[in-house]
Amino acid sequence: MRTRMNQQLVEVVSGSLPLLNNVFGILSGMFLVIFAGFFVAVSPATYRRGMELLVPASHRALAADVLSEIATTLRHWIKGAATAMLIIGVLNAVGLTALGVPAALALGLFAGLMAFIPFLGPVLGMIPALGVALTISPQKALYVFFLYLAIQVVESNLITPLLMKGMVKLEPALTILFQAFMAALFGILGLALAVPLLAILKVLVNRLYVERVANAH
């Protein structure tokens, strides 16, 4: 029973990613991500130039333009997401402390981390807090539900629209469907990467296909 539950948990987290479905794989993956991320931050121009050189000389200017647009889009998105995560984490931790829910800081941190995933993240972030509150009383759980609802309303109507101003617009239906597709294929990791990947794909399709077709007519 326990082994089966562990196996199912691994499947939910890593989906069909074979290298990342055990503790060693996840740790080495995290190590790779952090170090590769540091190297990219130390000298981004080197990697960018390398990617441009992979494209034939006749299309290099377009490639540079597209890469620049992708970098700007992702930078706007990550800036917005990081700020939203921080604000949501702090608001949740403060609210849960005020309501007297145990482990408020950890639950706030989890809710902040889940805010990385648009639309579905807030629901996932609310589940453990509701569980903890239910161990005290159903009334407390109701208060926690309204707290998350209020924070979600403020976040989606005030914070996110302000933060995501410069980013390429992603249609909500398309985003949710793509999130479902990525979650079905790759589990929670796929869900976490769905929005940045969709933003990249949208820039690529716009620049390499839609604009060309529009110019041809």
């Binding site: 069909s16 990613l17 074979p18 290298l19 990342l20 993956g29 790779l32 991500v33 952090i34 590769a36 991320g37 540091f38 190297f39 990219v40 931050a41 130390v42 000298s43 981004p44 080197t46 970098a71 992702l74 930078r75 990550i78 800036k79 990081a82 790759f186 990791l189 796929g190 990467l193 940045p196 990947l197």
Partner: protein
């Protein structure tokens, strides 16, 4: 009233079929390659996001006059230094 002429039928010759087959095989090979390397692609995309997140802090520091590689350990600096 003007009536538009129907478009002439497209000729399907061997070259057209060969080209279409090659495109389908190419797309299938690309999709298979992406599927085989999905772990590495995930790690790369996460690393790119981490790099972009860090560059949000590196950019303002560089503007303040701090050298870009000042936070990196010496081993990194020697590897990242331009030739």
């Amino acid at each position: 009233m003007s009536r538009t002429e129907p478009a002439p039928p497209t000729r399907v010759d061997l070259a057209f079929v060969a080209r279409a087959t090659l495109i389908v095989i190419g797309l299938w090979a690309l999709a298979s390659g992406l599927w085989l390397g999905r772990d590495i692609l995930f790690v790369t995309l996460f690393a790119l996001l981490v790099g972009l997140f860090l560059s949000l802090f590196v950019g303002p520091l560089v503007k303040l006059g701090v050298p870009r590689q000042v936070a990196a350990p010496p081993a990194w600096r020697s590897r990242c230094a331009p030739a």
